[in-house]
């Protein structure tokens, strides 16, 4: 069995090499059959990788400890579901997942994105093949998930924090995002290599980019949710390098999604767009490198592994190659269109781009700072929350405001008078909200008030956009309010889907502001019968209970929560003691207040031998808005992604109409 898997990986590797070599030759010399053959090789590589993946999954399902990977990441008592998701619990399996997703995306993209044009696809194939070859090379020669050994009696077990539904889903979602960014990258390189100056590659990859970006966003939110409920320190984001590793490419991809709109509407920023997609892809590779190489002192980092130098080398090759190609094609990318006014939607998008890229780069700087400072001064220095928060506020708050300003500004040039009129209501709403908040005591956090008022401004401008659009559509006649609304959204799916995504970001901002700027934290040692108060909630400790489960012992502190005279329920924060893994995990207890959107977060910090508990309680206002934002985000992205028959017809006429005529 392991031989089958290893042979499949070698087959995949050979196919990908063929795709690179044969595909490049075919594209260069213009050989149709060879180009098709190279394209088929990508599809076949997907098939071969699936075979290898099935071999590993089967071994995981049967707890076949003769596979070293299975022995390292599962144990006899591990339930089937978690045994399967242990696939991506370790380094080698994660690399296989990367390759699997990459081959899947590659096959699907080249088969369906025909609109990009045959000669572009001819170059896209070797580009995708090159990235795939790198991962296949690692899997075959450096870090194989299918290595065998003498089977031990039992495996080491899966880390308890990973035995959680969120962690089961989080890596694949993230990978669908990370790896998905390879598609627009490959098409951009393909277009440059084929010397194309038109927008076909953007139109062809639009949905792929949006989907990858959405997966990356949702994957991160799931990761944050996991950290919140499973690790349970009371927060959801720690600015750890591994978390930043996913945030940076997401920010770059967000910038890219916006700037391609400018290229489509006005034909500007061609060079900037290509550089952005290269940046997003390189950050995505860098992110994978960060998570796997242990090179940055991270509490998340895996062992100092052998694949680090390989990744670094590959990133350098890709960056150098891409930049050289851009430089060589610079004359082709010049556009005639100029930015007409600093007050226009194009300009707003440009500011948004600059802020997003600046934020991504400052996070990058913070992540590599230990390495750089060690190289320069001999001592590694780290930056932490204050650094990241400073830049998050400096760049993030203006970005938040821009989300509200952008949609209200016209293309090309907006007169200040027109602006004044369109801004009136959102501005008024924001001012009123600010006054109310200050009166309610929110002034304790300046940043919080600013974030809230900006959020109100943006929400008001979004609502206004929908309202004005619906009213204009209705004025055209023939439909009522409902019909006008659905017709409006249906005809402009990307725009209105985008507004809904903006609304999701605003909800996220409100949730983050509330749960960080306005949270209350209390800690106290409680003996049975003692109580403590946090934000109006009285917590009474009743004692411990201990339970024996399948693979662990559960110790829980029983805490009764009261508000005034109302009994709100009994909550059980505590610890789990896992036998096989010999580890203790923190199990928090959270009370969700659905009315206010806040959480009462209880942590049994320390279980003491004398029967007392060191209880830490946090009251986090509005934190559930973060998770709500996730749903709204998905909804908006789906609307934006939804195929539009009318637009498809128009694009077909534009691009395929050419082939028919020629």
């Amino acid at each position: 069995m392991p031989d089958l898997g290893r042979a499949a990986l070698v087959t995949s590797f050979l196919l990908l090499v063929y795709a690179v070599v044969g595909g490049s030759y075919a594209a260069w010399r213009g050989r149709r059959r060879l180009a098709e053959s190279a394209q088929n090789a990508l599809v076949a590589a997907f098939g071969a990788t699936v075979v290898a993946a099935i071999v590993l999954l089967a071994a995981l399902a049967r707890h076949d400890f003769s596979f070293r990977y299975v022995a390292e990441h599962t144990s006899r008592e591990l339930p089937l579901g978690y045994s399967l998701t242990a696939f991506w619990g370790g380094q080698e399996g994660s690399l296989l997942l990367w390759l699997l997703v990459l081959c899947g995306y590659s096959a699907a993209a080249v088969l369906t994105a025909r609109r990009a044009g045959r000669e572009v696809i001819a170059w896209v194939v070797p580009t995708l093949g090159l990235v795939g070859t790198f991962f296949a090379l690692l899997l075959v020669f450096v870090a194989s998930p299918l290595a065998t050994q003498v089977a031990p009696a039992d495996g080491a077990g899966l880390n308890p924090s990973l035995q959680n539904p969120y962690m089961a889903v989080h890596p694949p979602l993230l990978y669908l995002g990370y790896v998905g960014l390879t598609v627009p990258f490959a098409f951009a390189m393909g277009a440059l290599l084929a010397r194309r100056t038109d927008e076909r590659w953007i139109v062809a990859t639009r949905r792929w980019t949006l989907a990858a970006w959405a997966f990356l966003g949702v994957g991160q939110l799931l990761g944050a949710h996991w950290a919140y409920v499973e690790i349970g320190w009371g927060g959801y984001y720690a600015w750890d390098p591994v978390e930043n590793a996913a945030l940076m490419p997401w920010l770059a991809a967000t910038a890219f999604l916006h700037s391609v709109m400018i290229q489509e509407k006005r034909g500007m920023l061609k060079v900037w767009n290509v550089l952005l997609v290269v940046l997003a892809f390189c950050l995505s590779l860098f992110g994978t490198f960060l998570t796997r190489s242990g090179i940055i002192q991270s509490i998340h980092s895996f062992t100092q592994s052998s694949i680090g130098p390989w990744f670094l080398g590959f990133i350098c090759v890709i960056t150098a190659g891409a930049l050289t190609l851009v430089f060589l094609r610079l004359p082709l990318l010049r556009s005639k269109t100029r930015l007409e006014s600093l007050v226009s939607r194009e300009a707003t998008f440009l500011y948004n781009n600059l802020l997003l890229v600046a934020l991504a780069l400052t996070i990058l700087w913070g992540v590599v700072y230990p390495l750089l400072s060690e190289a320069v001064t001999g001592t590694a220095a780290t930056v932490s929350k204050p650094y990241y928060n400073f830049f998050l506020h400096s760049f993030g708050l203006p970005l938040l405001l821009l989300m509200g300003i952008g949609p209200l500004v016209a293309w090309r040039r907006a007169s200040l008078r027109a602006l004044g009129r369109t801004f009136l209501w959102p501005l008024a709403a924001a001012v009123v909200a600010g006054a109310v908040l200050l009166a309610a005591g929110a002034g304790s956090s300046r940043i919080g008030v600013i974030a809230y008022t900006f959020s109100v401004f943006v929400l008001a401008s979004i609502v206004l956009e929908f309202a004005r659009g619906t009213s204009a559509r209705r004025a055209l006649g023939g439909v009522g309010w409902g019909g006008a609304f659905s017709s409006l959204v249906a005809r402009n799916r990307r725009r209105y889907g985008g507004y809904i995504v903006h609304a999701a970001v605003v909800l996220l901002a409100i949730g983050v502001a509330g749960s960080s700027a306005y949270q209350t934290v209390r800690e106290k040692r409680l003996h049975p019968g003692n109580s403590m108060t946090v934000a109006g909630n009285r917590l009474v400790f009743r004692g411990f209970e201990s339970r024996l489960e399948g693979n662990h012992r559960a110790i829980r502190a029983l805490v009764d929560v009261y508000r005034g005279s109302d009994y709100l329920g009994r909550y059980r924060p505590g610890k789990n003691q896992y036998f096989a893994e010999d580890q203790i995990s923190n199990e928090v207890s959270i009370r969700h207040d659905l009315l206010t959107g806040g959480d009462l977060f209880l942590i049994a910090d320390q279980v003491n031998a004398d029967g007392s508990v060191d209880l830490k309680a946090l009251q986090k206002p509005l934190v559930n808005l973060l998770w709500l934002a996730g749903f709204v985000f998905v909804g908006g992205a789906l609307i934006a992604l939804w195929p539009d028959a009318r637009e498809e017809r128009r694009l077909a006429e534009r691009y395929e109409g050419a082939a028919v005529r020629a």
Binding site: T379, F391, E523, D605
Partner: protein, 128 residues
């Protein structure tokens, strides 16, 4: 009226300059925290991030009076006593590699509360 030349380039240049300025202001004021091992503590008087291995038996109570333990270099050469108050990660035990912020005072490393973080040596475990 359309401008001669592109204001886009001007915006980009000004923005880059602005970012750099904000940046330099921040890093010169706040800077990073040196990340060092116990053997290197001698020269540092300010706040540092101490990385080391827990040796010996920890004593005391982090939630009352302070947890006392010793941290040594990775190779086991030098070690320093640490006193810590606050949340203790579940993975904390003798032999684990940990990171904690604090300052050396009178031969004892006094930790900043709630900054103790453990690193799992061979398995993926994020812990706060």
């Amino acid at each position: 009226m359309a401008r001669r030349g592109s204001p886009a380039r001007l915006i980009v240049a000004l923005s880059v300059a602005a970012v750099l300025a904000v940046f330099l202001v921040y890093t010169s004021l706040a800077g990073g925290t040196p990340s060092i091992q116990p053997g290197q503590l001698a020269g540092h008087t300010g706040k540092v991030s101490l990385v080391g291995k827990v040796v010996g038996k920890p004593s005391g109570d982090a939630h009352a009076g302070g947890l006392h333990f010793r941290l040594s270099d990775r190779n086991g050469a030098a070690s320093v006593p640490v006193v810590y108050k606050g949340s203790v990660p579940d993975l904390f035990k003798t032999g684990r590699e940990v990171v904690v912020d604090g300052t050396l005072r009178g031969g004892v490393f006094v930790a900043v509360p709630n900054t103790l973080v453990t690193k799992c040596p061979s398995k993926y475990t994020p812990k706060k």
